[in-house]
């Protein structure tokens, strides 16, 4: 089943409430995906800096001294802000790739959830409201956020199997559905240099879009292409640094409802997710059409 929520803010005055509204939306989708949850929040960018969100199953051990070790490895200052099993590492933007490589080489227990200028991804196994409380989603602010509650079908219930998936800088994808051609597509993408962390089908969809955007397409064009190349059931909600996209497969079994006001664009697997948003009574509410790309950019 799975539940998806997404909020793309158009009116800056609402940005401080992004986390609170996303948490409230996510809480309505608990029973659609009770085994794990996750969310991506696009917050403030800091000039010349990049953020890496990392996770560890043994955070006390793995995060102790991680900033110092990393700083030494990349020869630049590293700030660390720990949140439960996750931590956000801030590094100079031109050292982001080096930091990534150093984590992979020297810190095998540390997994990279996301990297980019504004994105932070948090995800864990457990009841969705517990997951959002654990990382203090309510207190976060930013321009857009995408959340997911998971009922696993295609791969194990693990932290890495939870959504969102991020396969490129400031990119993320959440998925409700199941793909049927992900193994063959994955082989092709691997051949072209994409790397994968899990056996999950949704990660292949995320990597596919990254691969398309690496070819120079924007998110909207990449989503358009996915209709030709992905086979299976899907409702995707996708984020980039300044974009927010939605697409459903041509059969469109997986539910989706959207709302738009002057202040925001919102996505929910069901109307329940939208019911608490400000001004929802006057919002334009519609069901996204099958095989149609919806895409907003700021």
């Amino acid at each position: 089943m799975c539940g998806i929520v997404g909020l793309f803010i158009k009116d800056k005055a609402l940005e401080p409430r992004l986390g609170e509204l996303t948490a409230q939306m996510l809480a309505t989708m608990c029973e659609r995906g009770p085994d794990s949850a996750g969310f991506a929040v696009y917050g403030d960018a800091e000039d010349g800096k990049a953020k890496l969100t990392v996770q560890s199953a043994r955070a006390d051990q793995d995060f102790a001294g991680l900033d110092a070790a990393l700083s030494k490895a990349i020869g630049a200052p590293v700030e660390i802000e720990r949140k439960s099993s996750h931590a956000v590492l801030t590094v100079p933007a031109d050292k982001a790739d080096a930091a990534r490589a150093a984590i992979k080489a020297d810190h095998p227990g540390v997994r990279i959830m996301s990297a980019g200028e504004t994105i932070e991804i948090y995800k864990e196994v457990g009841w969705p409201t517990d997951v959002s409380d654990r990382f203090h989603l309510k207190q976060m602010s930013g321009s857009h956020a995408i959340g997911h509650t998971r009922m696993a079908t295609e791969s194990a219930v693990t932290t890495l199997g939870a959504h969102p998936f991020s396969t490129g800088a400031d990119q993320c994808l959440v998925h409700n559905g199941s793909l049927s051609n992900h193994n063959s597509l994955k082989r092709k993408l691997k051949h072209d240099g994409m790397t994968f962390e899990t056996e999950n089908d949704s990660e292949v969809a995320a990597a596919y879009l990254t691969w398309r955007m690496n070819q120079g397409m924007n998110l909207g064009q990449a989503l358009e292409k996915s209709l030709d190349d992905l086979d299976g059931f899907f409702t995707f909600v996708v984020g980039t640094k300044n974009g927010f996209g939605v697409i459903r497969d041509p059969i469109a079994c997986k539910p989706a409802v959207m709302a738009e006001t002057d202040q925001y664009v919102a996505f929910g697997s069901e109307y329940r997710a939208l019911a608490g948003l400000p001004g929802i009574d006057k919002a334009k509410i519609w069901e996204p059409e099958p095989a149609t790309v919806y895409f907003w950019e700021r």
Partner: protein, 228 residues
């Protein structure tokens, strides 16, 4: 009139109260506040009562209805009025996928648009949609009527049995074994009755086309044996 506010009363209590009503009940009118997209609002009612739901509902709103007149003053999630037996369900907004699925009787009116699979496997229900309907509507529809004032999506009436489909706008494509059929006087009469029941007075029956089964899939054609 009894008013139940779902912001304070649990959904199960609402449905249990509605199920306690029977023929001749004194509680003939009900109002439900704050449905906020909840699932299964006013399902399984079996009494000639009126229920007004003030706001959008989630999955299966008014499902399995028998005898009641249910009005949803908002939009409806997937499976509104699914398996209705009799009575009526009116949706003032849009309806999501498989509206009126497998319905055996009664009248479902959708004043906005209906999404995909509207009237899938319908078995006697009458469905009137003021707006458009999505793809695969009336799939394997067995009996009853589907009236659409707007347009129909892809594969209308795929593998249809004996349901009658009336569409005023365009049909993106017809499904397997569904064809356009002649509008004879009896079809105009039938359609006029349905429009009247749905309270629609601003369109003429002559603006509609009728679609139904070519009846080519009813029996196995031995010439196709090689395909299996």
């Amino acid at each position: 009139m009894r008013t139940i506010d779902l912001a304070v009363t649990p959904l199960r209590e609402l449905n249990a109260e509605l199920h306690r009503q029977s023929e001749g009940t004194n509680e003939a009118e009900w109002e439900v506040l704050n449905p906020r997209g909840l699932h299964a609002v006013a399902v399984g009612v079996d009494a000639p009562i009126k229920v007004a739901v003030r706001g959008p509902v989630g999955y299966y709103g008014g499902g399995m209805n028998k005898k009641a007149t249910i009005t949803i003053h908002g939009s409806a999630g997937p499976g509104v009025a699914e398996n209705m037996m009799s009575g009526s369900v009116v949706v003032k907004g849009d309806a999501s996928q498989y509206a009126g699925a497998t319905g055996r009787g009664g009248l479902l009116v959708i004043e906005g648009n209906a999404a995909s699979r509207c009237g899938i496997s319908m078995k006697g229900i009458d469905i009137v949609v003021r707006g458009n309907i999505g793809h695969m509507s009336a799939f394997m529809a067995q009996s009853g009527h589907l009236v659409v004032l707007g347009d129909a999506g892809d594969a209308l009436g795929d593998s249809i049995y004996e349901a009658k489909l009336f569409v005023r706008g365009s049909v993106k494509s017809l499904g397997a074994d569904c064809i356009e059929k002649e509008m004879r006087p009896e079809h105009h009469d039938q359609l006029a009755v349905l429009l009247d029941k749905a309270g629609i007075k601003d369109v003429k029956t002559s603006e509609f086309k009728r679609y139904g089964s070519a009846r080519k899939l009813y029996n196995f054609n031995i010439d196709n044996a090689d395909a299996y």
